[in-house]
Structure formats: structure tokens, C-alpha cells
Amino acid sequence: MNPKIRVKNVSKQYDIDGKSIRTLDNVNLSVESGEFVTLVGPSGCGKSTLFNILAGLVAPGNNAELFIDGELRPADHLLGQVAFMPQRDMLMPWRTVLDNAIVAAEIDGMAKRVAREQARQSIDRFGLRGFEGHYPNQLSGGMRQRVALMRTFMFDRDIMLLDEPFGALDALTRTLMQRWLLEVWEGAKRTVLFITHDIDEAIYLGDRVMVMSARPGHIKFEERVPLPRPRSPDVVTRSEFIDLKRRLLSVIEDESLKAFAAMNEPTSNPSI
């Protein structure tokens, strides 16, 4: 059975001001259908670049091969194939919560009325009952992320790419959102790739955890998460959790130090 996503030899190089910066170097990974894979790595390692490539926004290097459902997809045919959620919620301030949620589906061709109806039916699942008519500037950070997630879920694609969706939230809200995300995901088994820089989050959420190295990024380490689903909140105290965390920490610390050293060189550009 073919993996849902298969990434082979993805590299990416940027040329800025005459200098060439390799953000990704031979990334290879695969994700099974319905799997929730978390991706951790130090800042600037190219995680977001990888997502941009998978979403079709950026073209990968020449030898790259991207397979979805076992079929080789040319890089310029990826736009609109996956449900992408960037780090910032990008809600449109002139649209209500409901209308923001349906944006992706609307562009995909769904009739506004139908989309709105569908959105109304799942509004409870996303905890936004009563706020359908509110505008983004009336919502808290956690609610805005939920609207963005709802928008991502309403875009009917099997694959979801979530780029640090909870990064800007405070720790308490983040924990609640993690639990809630797993609930929603259990109800609609999409294949999820989730970027985070929080190891606890990576282990708590994922079926598998992958660690990306410092720039130029490649998959340095990956491991299955040996914890049962559904994940209870106290799973963070289990010995399997702590063992995995210990292993991940040592790998990531190496890479973080490398990334930190690279950032403090005068010639590097960490903002990629």
C-alpha cells in the first residue's frame, strides 16, 4: 500500500545577494494515510520551506520527487492539492467567522450557501458557537486559530499541513488546543504533517516524530510514538513519553547549537 505522501531528495537553494543558501538538503520522508506526523527542528532549519514546497508555493531542486497517493506530482501541479495552514492565521478582517471558515471551500468552487450551511453544522465541533457573526478583531488568539483550523478542515483534501499553529498562544491555551485538535482529527481522519518547535507537543500529538537537522535541513531522526490513542493528558508523565523525549532532546540540542552558531555568523541569513 502506497504511503499517502512520499518525499524523495527534496533540496532547496536560495540565491540572495550573490550568496547561495541551501535551506534543504536531500529531505526524504514518507507519511502513511491517516497518520499524524510531527516535525521538530531548530529555527531556520527549513521546516516552513518544506511545507511551502509541499503546498506548491515553492519549487524544489531538480532531483526532487514528490508522490501523493503513489503518483508522481510535478511541482507546479501541487497548488490546491493540500490543505495548508501557515503560522499566522491570515483571517480576513472584513469577513465574519463563518465567512472566513468557508474561504478555502468557496475558492474551491463550493457554493457560498452550501458552504455556510456546512460550516454552521460543524461550528460546535470547533467551539465557535455564538461567534459565527463576529469579526476577527473581536476574537482572542485561540479563537482565531480555531477559525483558521476550521477553514483548513473545510478544504476537502486528504492531506493537511499545519505550520506551528499554536506557536503564538500561551502555554495554557496551547495545551487545551492540542487536546481539542486531536479530538477533531479523530473525527475526520486526515493525513497530517504538523510542524512544531515544542518537543512535548510533538510527542503528545504525533503517531511519529521526525527531527529535522539544522540548515541545510534533512531528516535526522525519526521514531514512532509508542503511546496509545486516544492520548490522555497524563500521558506526558509516562515513562515511554519521557524516554522518547530524552532521545529527542539530545538530538535536537545538537542541532540547535549548530543553528545558533550559524545564526551568529555575520554572513548567514537566518530568516529563511
Partner: protein, 264 residues
């Protein structure tokens, strides 16, 4: 999960709303009354003749004395201002869209446009009058030109204010150029565009009046000029007062429309 919901205001009773409104209004109203009182007092204390400073009552009486001419002047000025304003706004918006769709046009024409507009518009007044006469047309033309520039630079800034990440996101949903323009660029530009429209409407009234003072057949500015020439200062005050009132009304209408169009 309403733990992180924003706290919404409890519904206000009519009484609280009335009290709050009164609270907000009484200081400026008080200031206005103080101003009127000081006005009357100064006239009385210094025994000022009415050609230096007529009393508010005298101005109102003079206004009521000749309503037709006043109305005619007012309508002339409003016509010039709004005519130039509406045409200029449409032109400015159109050019903005053209410039965004075809940047080469902007590179070719914008420098000239900017240079011409770096001179205060009133300085072109005499030129407009010589080229286009002292009728309303010269005013409308100049106002059209000035308004189009204001609206253009605001619209350009607005159309370009879009976050590239937002555009990228829409592309991942499969949106094409026109969808992005319609669903993202234009709504994002609306606050800027309406800001430009509000600023421009003030300019159009100012230009209409100033230009009429240079040469006109009718209008509030012409009335001000004519009255001062003929030493009929009370009439001048009437025209000035009317200009202020009319401008305020037009400005609030445009502001209302802005708030309706940019509801977020």
C-alpha cells in the same frame, strides 16, 4: 470552549446610553456656547462696528435676507466640488487599477504626475482660469485633477498593502489572479481608498472656494470675494459660514459612507 472568549458588553439600557451621549456632547456644546458668548461680549465691550465683527444674529438675518442668491451660490459651489470630486475619484481609482495591472504604465507616468502635484494645487488656479475660463468648468477640471491624485496614491498603497503570505495562502486553495484580486486585494484596499476619498472631499471644497475667489460667475468663494471688495462684510461672513456648514455636511456623509463600506 468559551474559556478564552472575549467578554462582550452587557446590553445597555436606554438611560445609560443617553447619559453617555450627554457626557460626550456637553463639553463641546459648552465650548460652542462660550464661543458665542465671548463673541457677543467682545462686540459689546469694544463697541465693534459690524464691518469688523458682526454679531451672530446679524449674520443670520443677512442670510435670511437673500436666500435665493445664497442658495444659488451654495449650489454652484457644491456642484463644482462634487462634480470634480466624483469624476476625479473614478479617474484615480481607474488609474490605480491600471497601474497595478500594468506596472510599466506606472513607471512611465507616475513621475510626471508626482512632479505636477508637488506644486500646491491652488497655484494652478490662475492657469485653469486662463485655459478654461471663469465658469464652473475650470473649477471642476482642477478639482478633478487634484482629487484623482489623492485617490490614486491612496488606492495604490491600499492595493499593494496585501500581505504576500495571505496571497500565497489563497493560492494554496487554488485561487487564480482574478479571485485573489476580488477576494483579497480589493477588500484589503478599501480602508485606504476610503481614507483617500475622505481627504479628497475636503480638498474639493477648499479648491472650489479658493478658485471662485480668483474668478467666477457665482459661488460661495466668489460671494466672499465680491463682498469683501464691496466692503459688505456681513455678506462675507454669511458666505464663510455657509461654506463651513456645507463642508461639514458633505464630510459627514462621506465619513458615513466610509464606515458603511469599511465595516471592520
Amino acid at each position: 470552549m468559551s474559556a478564552d472568549a472575549r467578554i462582550t458588553m452587557p446590553a445597555c439600557s436606554i438611560q445609560t446610553r443617553a447619559v453617555r451621549l450627554f457626557d460626550r456632547l456637553y463639553p463641546p456644546v459648552l465650548a460652542g456656547l462660550l464661543l458665542l458668548a465671548t463673541w457677543e461680549f467682545v462686540i459689546w465691550w469694544f463697541k465693534l462696528p459690524n464691518f469688523v465683527l458682526p454679531s451672530p444674529a446679524e449674520i443670520l438675518v443677512a442670510a435670511a435676507n437673500d436666500p435665493q442668491n445664497l442658495l444659488h451660490d451654495t449650489i454652484t459651489t457644491i456642484g463644482e466640488a462634487l462634480g470634480g470630486y466624483i469624476a476625479g475619484s473614478l479617474l484615480g481609482l481607474t488609474v490605480a487599477i491600471v497601474f497595478v495591472a500594468a506596472p510599466i504604465m506606472e513607471r512611465l507616468f507616475m513621475p510626471l504626475y508626482v512632479t505636477i502635484n508637488s506644486v500646491p494645487m491652488v497655484a494652478y488656479g490662475p492657469l485653469a482660469i486662463i485655459w478654461l475660463g471663469i465658469g464652473s468648468f475650470s473649477k471642476i477640471a482642477l478639482i478633478l485633477f487634484s482629487v484623482s491624485y489623492t485617490v490614486l496614491i491612496n488606492a495604490l498603497a491600499g492595493l499593494r498593502s496585501c500581505d504576500p503570505a495571505a496571497i500565497a495562502l489563497l493560492r494554496t486553495f487554488g485561487a487564480g489572479r482574478w479571485t485573489i484580486l476580488l477576494k483579497l486585494r480589493i477588500p484589503a484596499a478599501l480602508p485606504w481608498i476610503f481614507n483617500g476619498l475622505r481627504v479628497a472631499v475636503v480638498h474639493s471644497m477648499i479648491l472650489a472656494i479658493v478658485l471662485e475667489m480668483l474668478g467666477a460667475n457665482a459661488g460661495l468663494g466668489w460671494s466672499i470675494f465680491k463682498s469683501t471688495q464691496m466692503m459688505n462684510f456681513v455678506e462675507a461672513w454669511v458666505a464663510v459660514g455657509m461654506s463651513v456648514i456645507v463642508s461639514l455636511i458633505i464630510y459627514s456623509i462621506v465619513t458615513r459612507i466610509s464606515r458603511w463600506a469599511v465595516w471592520w
